[in-house]
Subunit: 218 residues, 3 copies
Amino acid sequence: MTVEPPVLLALDLAGTFAFGLNGALTAVRTARLDVVGVVALGMITALGGGVIRDVLIGSIPPATFRDWRYFALAAAGGLIAFALSRRLHRLETPIMVLDAIGLSVFAVIGASKALAFGLGIGPAVLLGMVTGVGGGTIRDTLVQRIPSVLHSDLYAIPALVGAAITVAAVRAGVYSLPAALGAATVCFVIRMLGVHYRLNAPEPPGTSGHRGSPRDDA
Amino acid sequence: MTVEPPVLLALDLAGTFAFGLNGALTAVRTARLDVVGVVALGMITALGGGVIRDVLIGSIPPATFRDWRYFALAAAGGLIAFALSRRLHRLETPIMVLDAIGLSVFAVIGASKALAFGLGIGPAVLLGMVTGVGGGTIRDTLVQRIPSVLHSDLYAIPALVGAAITVAAVRAGVYSLPAALGAATVCFVIRMLGVHYRLNAPEPPGTSGHRGSPRDDA
Amino acid sequence: MTVEPPVLLALDLAGTFAFGLNGALTAVRTARLDVVGVVALGMITALGGGVIRDVLIGSIPPATFRDWRYFALAAAGGLIAFALSRRLHRLETPIMVLDAIGLSVFAVIGASKALAFGLGIGPAVLLGMVTGVGGGTIRDTLVQRIPSVLHSDLYAIPALVGAAITVAAVRAGVYSLPAALGAATVCFVIRMLGVHYRLNAPEPPGTSGHRGSPRDDA
């Protein structure tokens, strides 16, 4: 519906693949699943955020059901993660970078699409974030984990910032490929800083003392 | 779409705030979350039931995406709960009363809106209940708790009764502000009686002996 | 919307009843729930897959909200399971057979309906599977179990095969009652073979050694 430039489309497809890979890998580590479960969770991670967005803005059937490349890339990511699950630990950094690219592009494209379907500023920003974090949230819920977006290193906030810049650019009439890439880059940089410095959003007063992130267990 | 009287709108907004507060507070107690997680769960609790209803009846984008006040009140409830989480225990009774008001108003407005979108009697009653209990169910699922509506003090039943009275009033041609307030009041009273006397819906034969409600742990 | 032959409708209704019974029974065994929770989970199991499909293809309100018989049969299944929960162990085989019938018919009807709403081949196959497994997945998530479709005896694969045969028949112009029953029968047979021989889809390399299915605990 909304025509995104080829560069954004390429990044969107790359993000879909990265989310499929990353989602399936998380699934393999968390729960004992068969190949159907692993690939299904990879695909849900890759496509879930966009499907929620499209259902809420009325873009039916969802975009991922109309372009076979999304399906194919999400499934390919899931299958590769299944096959190589024992070796993928070594690739943790590239996978995490790809995941951050996916988050950034999904947030920008999600916000832009919500505006194109007539939603207001606030809902468009929110739906940009949901596009980025929705798939991983469904995956975590299905494997009985509290969604990592709710408690770990900055994840929702960079998506919110990227979506907000996108919405501001569209409303200011300056949305274009450089603007979109700029918004995605800001999201990406905040996310990488969050990972690198293990930044977290503030916790409720009185609880921060005894907090342990999963990584502290190691 | 359906024009509700100002009193109902005011109660609807009050219910949204109460659900945001209550949902975020439940989240703080159940799981270790950061501010994003707490506010997100407050908003999901406050807005989730209405969003499910609107998706199922085809009111897209959902009403809460078209009126910034719902967003603002849900987020405000979540932020207040986050900031005051250590002191809110003392406010348990008023919060619970506000929650019951939200449940009652959501059930009545949900059923009335479903009828306005052409649904039948049974689905409208069900969607009234879903509007009331849907947000809390999503919240509980995300923080890995069995949704309280499935096992604790009368919660779904008062919502069903309130929705059924609403549907009956609409079909009888006597739906008006007093009828809506009457239906909401019946729901509210049943809910408060359930809380006060710790009433529960019947359990499967043979299991009631060894049941312990969460409150019995104290 | 799509006119299915009476035999398929009868099987669809039988599947709905079986899913309601089976879903409620699973709920009773897994978690301590009251009558509202048990019946709600039975209905969610029976109706959830079709509702997800209808939301994604834009058939709003969902078919199960337009035909009271689905509601009635799903609720009846849930109530019977609640009342007889202690005796239903003895009926495990017939319940499992009914469940497999439901899976098969739902997969065929789901795929056929998705095509009728203009979806492509891949999405139609996927939505056929989702129609079959969606309700049970929501149920398992609500009672805090990893959805059985993700890890246990062949469940998703027979649904995929049945949906794929359906889509092939429609595209080849030979979809008819015998073709639909044939596709459902193939799904049913694969499912029953999976149960009988405890077949599972492959697991990630290196994990199959220490796997224990729930049944091995006995």
